[in-house]
Subunit: 349 residues, 2 copies
DNA sequence: CGGCAACTCTACATCGTTGTAGAAGGCGCG
DNA sequence: CGCGCCTTCTACAACGATGTAGAGTTGCCG
């Protein structure tokens, strides 16, 4: 039914010629301009179908000064949390007619800085950026002149919209969950020594708060460092803690990967979870519902984060409200209780 | 040091004016044209730096007819295998100066077809496509006139380059691994009834081959259907098989997610793995090295698949060899033995 | 019936870059 | 000296779309 010869691009000129109208009328039809006689519209549409015409996005972008693409910069897609986040962002963007271009920073500071200044910014209308390594010394770099939404705590006072969960509060709740179960020797896995503004610091802070509110003192021997928040480092840190001989009856993994790594070690060492040691994670990645035992964790409202971020970015791109001050949106979280703290009763159907 | 006012885009005209040269000379400098006096080049470069100029990619794309972006269409990033694959593809593309735009098809046939004809094709120079749902009836749709590389078995005789592992052979090896351990009642999870060309069919075929070579007959009661290859469906199928009362001493999950779902159920039912039932998966996603027990699986050479696919696509895009016939590249695989079949001896470090 | 508004469509300039063609100057060589 | 060749740079016309301005038509109202 269609003569579609897409290889050698059909342009509006050819469609216009076939329909016997001007090229601008074709443009008008394509863009849904209202003042077109139905008969003309039909002729143009028929010509479009016959020739298999599709608009040249590069040309449109050039003319409109917009690309319809937004960038999403994350550490790595092989980290399940970011893969799931990317999934949600892509869905949210798609629902709003946007396409997503993903950049991986590999949690390397230099690459995170590149993202802010790189060539790729010209391919996109805006950026959703989840930095891990940038610190206060990079605040200046965040003063960019394109629409950007940052994911994660507003740690630098940076000039951009932020979407984040309340890390301190969520970590406090996670710790409280363990305290409620009668645990008193709660280890942390994933702390970053010296850091004061990142997720690690905030979550540790929440942990401390919960302990202090419960009248307990924080034992430094229970704070396990882990630079990268991967399964492997979680496993290593767990081993280090166990080998140190310090008494432990619960573990708070600052993200799920760490907690899963810890779970792995506990299993290997035949330590009963949650009998001897209860474990809680953070992020609610899908895997936590299928590990053995299933992992109690903090669900950060991924969908909500994604849609909020896309909406904020779109508002900036479209300059709905030109001088709007930068906002910080705090999303909801929830403790999802599973076997690693509740035991068998935590089992789902 | 730089007067950078990027908001209202600096163009080549302004750079040219400031450097006192023609706009084309600026273009020449930017593109590394060789016949430029060093002095001129310096002046232009200084002007570029002063004004914070960056080329407008849309304009360049329009003029060059290329975008430097390749599309990657996968079912879902929340499936770890595809997230890890996307990770590898992005890295490979980046190393070759390309950017990747991801599309999720959600394993919906209609959306997979959209990918082949959609608007987005104009944003990209080519496509790496991992279809799951397209069947023989869609062969026609695969006749596209843009560069495309398909991931997965060359199931439709489609006119495109293919990169795939040998599914049949790999599944045969996986099954053989279980047979070598003395297992005889090997269940399969993830079969697709009636399918003859997809990964499911090919892997089941490999399974059958191995059994037949071992002189065993294939018991239909051991073949568990599971449409979606998710953890949840793996769990459901495992439960169904167990409840059916059929004797089982091993399970072959046609992908890791299914196997992990099965593992979860076995754990919940206190069935010893691999004591009573050994489990093997397929894909070697990172999670398999950290599950409890760790999961034996088939590693498909993800990096190799990604780099090969990107290279093939790039060759098509650049028409290195215009009429080159379509190739099918078979990548290597490897059985990674872990606890779920080998028991404790399978433990790493 | 004149005038004004609402339609419908068109010509042209323009977005910012790069390819083509060629001008201008210098140099070597016969 | 004159020719050709290399070097350096420029003017101009594209790429394919859309915004602007405005030319014709209708139709309605007073």
């Amino acid at each position: 039914m269609s003569t579609a010869k897409r290889g050698s691009a059909v342009t509006m000129h050819e469609v216009a010629a076939r329909a016997g109208v001007s090229i601008k009328t074709v443009s008008n039809v394509v863009n849904g301009y209202q003042y077109i006689r139905p008969a003309t519209k039909e002729r143009v549409e028929a010509a479009i179908a016959d020739l298999g015409y599709q608009v040249n996005i590069s040309a449109r972008n050039l003319r409109r000064g917009r690309t319809g693409i937004i960038g999403l910069a994350v550490p790595e897609l092989s980290l399940p949390y970011f893969a799931e986040l990317a999934d949600s962002v892509i869905r949210a963007a798609e629902a709003r007619g946007l396409t997503v271009l993903i950049e991986q920073t590999g949690s390397v500071r230099e690459r995170e800085l590149d993202v802010l200044s790189g060539q790729r910014r010209h391919l996109t209308d805006g950026l959703i950026f989840s930095p891990l390594e940038l610190g206060p010394q990079d605040a200046e770099a965040l003063h960019v002149d394109f629409p950007m939404v940052l994911l994660g705590e507003r740690i630098f006072g940076g000039p951009a919209d932020h979407v984040t969960m309340n890390n301190v509060e969520a970590a406090r709740a996670a710790t409280q969950h363990l305290l409620d179960l009668g645990r008193r020797r709660i280890a942390v896995i994933g702390a970053h020594e010296g850091e004061t503004v990142g997720s690690a610091a905030l979550r540790v802070q929440g942990y401390r708060q919960a302990l202090e509110e419960a009248g307990l003192t924080v034992d430094p021997a229970l704070i396990g460092e882990a630079g990268l928040w991967h399964r492997a480092t979680g496993a290593e840190t767990m081993e280090r803690l166990l080998d140190s001989g310090v008494e432990i009856d619960a573990v708070f993994g600052l993200n799920d990967a760490l907690a899963l790594g810890a779970l792995h070690v506990l299993h290997a060492r035949r330590i009963d979870v949650p009998g001897q040691i209860a474990v809680i994670g953070f992020d609610d990645i899908e895997e936590t519902a299928y590990s053995s035992p299933t992992l109690t964790t903090v669900a950060p409202g991924r969908e909500q984060i994604a849609t909020t971020a896309v909406d904020l970015l779109l508002a900036r791109i479209e300059e709905v409200e030109p001088g709007r001050p930068f906002v910080q949106v705090i999303t909801d979280f929830e403790i999802v209780g599973r076997e690693s703290t509740l035991g068998e009763q935590g089992t789902a159907g």
